[in-house]
Subunit: 658 residues, 3 copies
Amino acid sequence: MDKKYEPLYLGSAYYPEDWDVSEMPKDIAKMKEMGMNVARMAEFAWAKMEPEEGKFDFKWLHDAVDMLAANGIKSILGTPSATPPRWLSVMYPDVFYIEADGNPRSHGGRRDCCSNNPHYRYYSARIAEEMAKEFGNDENVIGWQIDNEIYSWTGCFCPECLRKFQLRLKEKYKTIENLNKEWELNCWSQKYDSFNDIPSPRGTWHNPNLCFEWYCFHNESHIDFLKMQADILRKYTKAPIGSDCMPLNGLDYEKIAEFSDVIQYNHYNTKENLWVTNFWFDYLRNLKDRPFWNTETATCWNGGTALHQSIKPEGFCRVNSFMPVALGGEANLYWLWRTHQAGHELVHGGVLYSNGRPYHVINEVMDTTEILKKSTEFIRETKVDTKVALHFTSKNWNMFLSQALTDGFKYIDHLTEDAYKPLVKAGVRPDVIGAKADLSKYDVVFSPFMMTLEDGNLPENIKSFVENGGTWVAGPMTDIRTWCGTNYTKSAYGILEEITDAYRLYQIPDFDNIIKAKWADGEEFTGTSLYDVYEETEGTLASITAGHSALINKPIMVKKSYGKGTVYLLGTIPGEKDMIKLIKMVLKEKNIKPMEFEGGVTAVKRIGENKNGIILIENAAENASFTLEKKMKDILSGEIYEGKISLTPYQILVLEEI
Amino acid sequence: MDKKYEPLYLGSAYYPEDWDVSEMPKDIAKMKEMGMNVARMAEFAWAKMEPEEGKFDFKWLHDAVDMLAANGIKSILGTPSATPPRWLSVMYPDVFYIEADGNPRSHGGRRDCCSNNPHYRYYSARIAEEMAKEFGNDENVIGWQIDNEIYSWTGCFCPECLRKFQLRLKEKYKTIENLNKEWELNCWSQKYDSFNDIPSPRGTWHNPNLCFEWYCFHNESHIDFLKMQADILRKYTKAPIGSDCMPLNGLDYEKIAEFSDVIQYNHYNTKENLWVTNFWFDYLRNLKDRPFWNTETATCWNGGTALHQSIKPEGFCRVNSFMPVALGGEANLYWLWRTHQAGHELVHGGVLYSNGRPYHVINEVMDTTEILKKSTEFIRETKVDTKVALHFTSKNWNMFLSQALTDGFKYIDHLTEDAYKPLVKAGVRPDVIGAKADLSKYDVVFSPFMMTLEDGNLPENIKSFVENGGTWVAGPMTDIRTWCGTNYTKSAYGILEEITDAYRLYQIPDFDNIIKAKWADGEEFTGTSLYDVYEETEGTLASITAGHSALINKPIMVKKSYGKGTVYLLGTIPGEKDMIKLIKMVLKEKNIKPMEFEGGVTAVKRIGENKNGIILIENAAENASFTLEKKMKDILSGEIYEGKISLTPYQILVLEEI
Amino acid sequence: MDKKYEPLYLGSAYYPEDWDVSEMPKDIAKMKEMGMNVARMAEFAWAKMEPEEGKFDFKWLHDAVDMLAANGIKSILGTPSATPPRWLSVMYPDVFYIEADGNPRSHGGRRDCCSNNPHYRYYSARIAEEMAKEFGNDENVIGWQIDNEIYSWTGCFCPECLRKFQLRLKEKYKTIENLNKEWELNCWSQKYDSFNDIPSPRGTWHNPNLCFEWYCFHNESHIDFLKMQADILRKYTKAPIGSDCMPLNGLDYEKIAEFSDVIQYNHYNTKENLWVTNFWFDYLRNLKDRPFWNTETATCWNGGTALHQSIKPEGFCRVNSFMPVALGGEANLYWLWRTHQAGHELVHGGVLYSNGRPYHVINEVMDTTEILKKSTEFIRETKVDTKVALHFTSKNWNMFLSQALTDGFKYIDHLTEDAYKPLVKAGVRPDVIGAKADLSKYDVVFSPFMMTLEDGNLPENIKSFVENGGTWVAGPMTDIRTWCGTNYTKSAYGILEEITDAYRLYQIPDFDNIIKAKWADGEEFTGTSLYDVYEETEGTLASITAGHSALINKPIMVKKSYGKGTVYLLGTIPGEKDMIKLIKMVLKEKNIKPMEFEGGVTAVKRIGENKNGIILIENAAENASFTLEKKMKDILSGEIYEGKISLTPYQILVLEEI
């Protein structure tokens, strides 16, 4: 190599505050020995950094950063707001999150304070600022993480949250009359005379529009809390800032991206759902024009005071460690370096046991450092390349939470299982994109399960995308609710009837039965879940063959032109075979050549100015195959491959065109 | 027809307050087009009728009643107490129902206020009175519904409820010594020194007698709340008054009947349990000497923010719509006319979608209007006829809630599955009757699962019924508890040992095993659930053949004479085959000829002064057959039938003797 | 017999306070007729004994004791603190237990007051003292039971409990710095500045060390409450004192034994888990040098307001009644004599129904009185004899509750199923022993699932036991946590690596898979659950054959010498076949001859100065066999047996060497 590339990072979460200082040299020596080049610290160490109110101690952390640096290991520092010290809640017992039953949380866990509480916010900001002053210019600190795994489930029910919620509604709806009208609150005499009268959604069967706003509000409160810290950090540092979030998009990643420099992501997937990480990585890489960090994953298992998951098989650790980098990241960090001596997570796998001895997967960890070193130039010189996008929006996540359409329907599960998986099986590596993404760079956009499209300029953007020649595959369950979650009353959809001449006759929420239909070519077609039935029309792709006589022969999937482009309108979730058939039909029309493979292969085409290639990772612990279009060389082994090649379980090939 | 008959009614719940006024003419025109002749309104429109405290607006409702009338559609009006406006709970936050955990309910749902709260009662009464003043003499208002689906589950735990509960106990038990004695509260040092010391049953494993009284109290509080409104309405109107209740008899329908003019009933049964509606209709028609109203049912599915049920198959809507009329009602109303634009129930089927387009079952709705028109004369000229009754009492409903006898034993499920279903299969259309029903008109009365018989004059009525020649089939699990739910200590039963010479040796609560026994004729007999074993005696019908040696050869079912009549005493739940054998034996003795059919047939003999006939409805979506005793003509098709005839799935025949 | 032996006791719980006085002579006459010689009374009769604050009435109880005595029946009296009268909670509403959600319990159940509440304690002590004054010298009162089935689940959350908990931690940890250090509370900024800041574990995901101390604290509070009463009773009586506890060892039986004269035990096992009673009896007999009392069991079924269990088959009652005596007890009492007339437990089997008629198992009860009479001399002259012990400690019970290691892992279930059952199947009748037991009288001690060994002097005692030649079978999951539940950081264990040269490489919490391994002799070996893997070493008994390559050929079970003795170190739970093989190997080395039998046999060797013999009880309701080493005579039938003999279902043989 004649050029110096930024390294790819492998490391782990390291908690020097939890160990006697005498352990530090030993621990760091072992990190170095394993080839690690990054450590993530301080995220829970508030009490160590501010042992008494206003009394700060950062020496121990300087020592750690410095000793790591001396051993070639960079530091990422976390602000510690997830775990305030006990003195804060003793001073201000009101800092605690209030559960729906009115009971407060308590000291001793994590994220038990309310992000809207002014005392908690003041002290969280102050410790972040003090850290930033200390380490903002430290060149060995290569990044900042704000808080840890912040997320809202039902939301805090403290008085501060209720008041802020009411103010947020006021800001959004302007007048109470408008809110009453948008939510149609004549129904059930629900209407309010004042924003001050709106309750938090507990204690009864609450309005889904209220619940939806409540979920959004709480996630936005968290984002506001993170942004407050980001703004402080930025005053003192040029290192990239982010917050390590989980596979939970109710907390809007697009909004996180706005104030972040680097997307940080934690996951604990297992053998069974490793492929789902690909969905998330295909999403994360598009959020910022900078490789993301996989800030947490387990080496071999995940647990707390008890094990909750299966043990991962041999090879998993290696593959799981490289996957984020292959798909657009630049770092992988394990949680955690060394199993704690005490506390809530003694049954969690790490790199070392609490007694300092390595876990049985140590060789896989060390393999990964080699793979990353050998791949650095290829990764740094190329980017993932695709012309196909799949929508995945935070707004729909929260709207499905507030109105599931059927008992237990989960947006993420259906999106990955019914749309993403068939796309991948059809040979596509899609970009997964949020509501704000630029559509113009794609040829095809898939938008299933988008209960509402009314999210910023999305309706206009989609129309413009299709007008200009794009292919939009819409539905099922797409465009059926307004921006705040109500039904359309003039049409069946927001824009779908407007931009096509499809006329929806019926919407039938049949989640129990297989919907029997046939393709226009006569082949059998099956669907599941809520389905929309159209008036007979040109461009029918599939029509119903069984069930209520009112439905027979009615279209359930149609294809329509709009401007220079095409809209595919799916009235139901096609079975996997039919979805793949549809995808291949669409790709062919757009002259997109799918990749050819059998089995569980993560195949990632990467294109650069000087280099092109493809990464292949077997992800299902089974044998697989892939058909190369060109002769290629595996950077890891130096071997040359061409044509149809075999992949062994958990094999990794980093293939460069030659 | 040379005589003018009152029409049969088909219609739906209509919420004009939820729509722009411009939608009303369109909606009403469509109702008329479909042949609908009734609409149910205003049940949730309190905020629209009283937008500010003491300021009333009924113009919009007059407009609706008038426009409906102009299109030949009558109105049923509901008092809106189920959904008070927000200003009431802002003025009086104490109106809310308090959960067992001490948390109040909240605004935004339904029935979230406490029926005992004086503020809520005052304002509920006032709005009802204002409505009555406005519409009491409106000839187009053909009926009144009070509140909506009122019911008590665990009951409200507010201070008002506790105090009223204590006062009710005082009224019932007179002295605290008496209550201590009746409940035998020396046990566990439970006894009270004052009615004021009695707690509501929360926070511990409470006494079942206390729980029983609590359940009864809360249902009675609701009934008192309804009656208060009925008394007000009656001052201003001659139209029939009722309250639309659900298939939940903890709220005593016999007490509801006392202050009601017409029984109103809501149900959402599905393909699988459609037959259970027959049980309820066989009950409802006996509560008043006036046909009941089926005030709510779904056209095609039932849901809230999510679907909870399966989609109903073709033909279901038609059959489900006619069923209540065939079995003694005169009206069927769908919930709802047009799916809401917003709120909690967007995934609920109606007649029109929120965009005004019809659901796919529209033809079934319109068929029903035809069927009802053609059947009017026959229905109006005849009544359901039977000599067999089956007991079903509210007191036992609540007593089983307080002491289930076995984990999860449900009175209604066993009564319908183990008694009603075999009766129907044996060819009987029973009257299902409450504790106060006159027994003298029946030849046979079945009383299974009547944990207590001590309900008003029931023991005397039963004795007198048997003395005068009636056949009483008692048990299993009947007469085993006193009026307040305690055990008998001098005998095994209240009256059963007194009026027979059966001597119960053992009662064994074996719910897990099949009890093996044999009939006196040697045929195998099986039973399930708690069983009573008798001393060997004359009249033994079945005796035990397996199990503990102390039980072998002991009778488990006996037949005894009392007065001119006969008592069958069932010690266990016979298997279906054996129950049918027993029923046929009893019918034969009483010279009651059962109907003959195969499959899921709702067969209803109707007798009148001028007309006789039988309605046959296939209710299981399968083929069936029925053997007619006489030649008959189907009023719907004009076809003549005789002998054994076939029925197709969901077929309806309204057969008149010719 | 030329010697007078203390009788063995059969009787029941008797509640004269719940019945009209006229019933007493009839009830007692029936007891006498059945051969009963003991009755247990007064445990819930506080309100009867102290109807008003400070006004005592014991006449009724004297009458009962005296009338029983006149009929040859002794009395055991219970202090009534489990059910205080209503006047106490009216005077002091603060007496109630507070649930985790902040809601208090209520009057009307049992054990609803807080054992730490000063008002409750004061009045509990006073009524106990008054009873003791009255009956302390009554020679017909042969024993005292304090309270009833006291136990702590999540524990009371009242302010008194929190303060006492903090004080207890202060007493135990001395300084807050020490507590912070022992629990390593730098982790997650958990550390406390004062004992006053430590919360009760509710409202968040709490530290397992905190939870563990909380569980221990609450059980200790109960013990303190019992001891307070024991101290009072002892001032007035010489009769043996105890408290009837349940099969729940979180409430430390060893501590109960310290202030008790006689161990009292309640159980409600069924056909399916009857064998588990043997485990408990094998434990109970070692707690005091005096036969224990089985104070409660059901004759035929167990229920409350509903049945929760299956009905017991014929023969069960007899076997279940004799079992405790065979295994080291001297009394068996049924709960209850006569089913209540009212209240929470009407569906519970007894000796008489509430109407005074006997249950169907009456003959089994009367058989038992005969069996006990005939066995008296043999039982009184002999004791259970064994050289093998199995550890079962209260500390581990509570520690597993606070950190389960895997979802739903239950200490008692694994201990009985994976260790006790194979021991019994291998022909061993073990003593089950607590942490304080003297090990010197055993040849072999099994210590599986002892998460921590640090319990008093246990580590030293074990070391000394092995040094002196004992065989210790340790693990799996043994010695892996410190005394307060944290991880070891210098070694993998507390003492196991110290006293052997085994070096643990890995600990893998794999609860899902079967661990495949092989014995040193090549035979297949399987294991389950969390497993420890050792460095290859001499003395390997089994090593891994499948899984991650890092594990292949690594030992999973090793045998090591220490002093004159031997340590078997189990890294996993062997499958039953392998566990039995191991046990037999160990027995052979120690020249312990196992008993030989097939099927579900409770075999109890009993040795005395003048008599030796063996009791055989078929406990699985199936045919079985046993091979006698010597010729013996059955005391019950007088028959002579030798060699391999057959046992019929539920057969009992009391065999004496001849």
